[in-house]
Symmetry: C2
Subunit: 306 residues, 2 copies
Amino acid sequence: MTARMVGVLSPVVTPFAADLSPDPGRFVRHCKWLLAHGCAGLAVFGTNSEANSLSVDERMELLEALVAKGVPPDRLMPGTGCSALPDSVRLTAHAVKLGCAGVLVLPPFYYKGVADDGLYRSYSEIIQRVGDPRLRVYLYHIPQVSGVPISVGLIGRLLATFPDTIAGIKDSSNDWKNTQQLLDAFLGTGFAVFTGSETFLLQNLRAGGVGCITAGANVNPHGIDAVYRNWQTAKADQLQSGANAIRGALQSVPMIPALKAVIAHYAEDAAWETVRPPFTGLASSQHHQLLAQLGALDFAMPDIKA
Amino acid sequence: MTARMVGVLSPVVTPFAADLSPDPGRFVRHCKWLLAHGCAGLAVFGTNSEANSLSVDERMELLEALVAKGVPPDRLMPGTGCSALPDSVRLTAHAVKLGCAGVLVLPPFYYKGVADDGLYRSYSEIIQRVGDPRLRVYLYHIPQVSGVPISVGLIGRLLATFPDTIAGIKDSSNDWKNTQQLLDAFLGTGFAVFTGSETFLLQNLRAGGVGCITAGANVNPHGIDAVYRNWQTAKADQLQSGANAIRGALQSVPMIPALKAVIAHYAEDAAWETVRPPFTGLASSQHHQLLAQLGALDFAMPDIKA
């Protein structure tokens, strides 16, 4: 059985060329930087990766580029949940075949108000069609974006049928009560609970969770990993406060262009600022405000320059 | 310049085989039945087509099957708006190449709360990358499902830049005030306003709209077309009431499995009941209730048996 992932994971931002095509070179470089600076794993193709603006083929090509360039697949948890069942099956099977440690699976997110029976059927079809005992599914709960919540009842049913496959959840609800309910329901079963923001990391670890999968880890992996490594020490709360301050600056403006603007600035590589529609780059006032806030926090990205 | 579509269009339900693969044979047959029984056009791959549960390749193969089997492309308005830009571009270019009269384009629907600038950029990229003067884009406003509304301001900007390409809208908000705002803003410009339900058809025609694109037309194309053909006669309100009663029965249970159950029943072809996840078939109590209501309305689907 594959070792389950714990610690700090980054939903890696996806760099684009000026023509909006994915840029595998910068992507590989950033993934390696993240692993060298505190990330235990890479949840590539998450929400903050603009993954839902990528085609299935683009995702597969980028994942193959990572593995070909030496990023260890046992550190990878690609997002593979799409609106259409065949897309989710194709991406999930591809990730397992490449040896990825797990996959992060959104529910089908176009249709709203569907019954848990239908969501159960969706995850069940993916697992059965992939049909590989190495598959480890992490559920992705982000109802404010997907519009499709993953209930405790649904998780219980999936765990009962697929106890070796359903490995955990990313709870991006930003609602600690939901995270606590998940821990109450499944602690001790091996079901791994990650929060979707570093702001809940210490709270999650103290309550039995295993880490966080967070946008902020794209630029502050070292600071967030410090909370993880020191969570049982006297420094824990202070380290958490430091990570929170940086998160606060990032989320004072739209998150995806913010992450890219920060990387572009500290790497001195303006190409990083490109976002795909439906996003747009930061307004210059937002750009200025963000960098000023980070500067006031003595924020740094060590060794990020190419 | 391509003639613009008017009248009653059906977002055609997509039949699946038992293994959940698309069934082109039943699809072609149903499309031909719809055109023979009152539909002016076919908005294949709409919300009620489970289109967002189909891969890009599946949609392209089904569209090719229609054209190969003699469904006239100038009666087709396939849905081509996806979450990912390259998917929308690929489907749109394919539809134009096949000679489709228009395309119905959802905004990218995963990311929520995006600015109109980003949605403008999204439609603009699709139009420019397809780069074909034959392209006619119908915008698809269904905020309660997509989570991404299309504002009057956005439409105005798109029309100003692409006056020959932006051809109209399907307003599925089920909010007459929104439809009226669209008519107020764009009546006289040639911009075609379709409602997303037959219940607003007569009201829309009287206010200057051109028709409806409605799930109900999958089973009641003749009844809805009768409203369209007679809207300026004394019978109009009575015909609208009749169409409304059938719509009321259909939407008393989940719409997509309802449409498929009705076709299966009247065509005596149980294979039509299959739905893809995240949907499930009707519960037997819902099935019974739906058919009883339609029976009480003397509902019929002439010539539907294979």
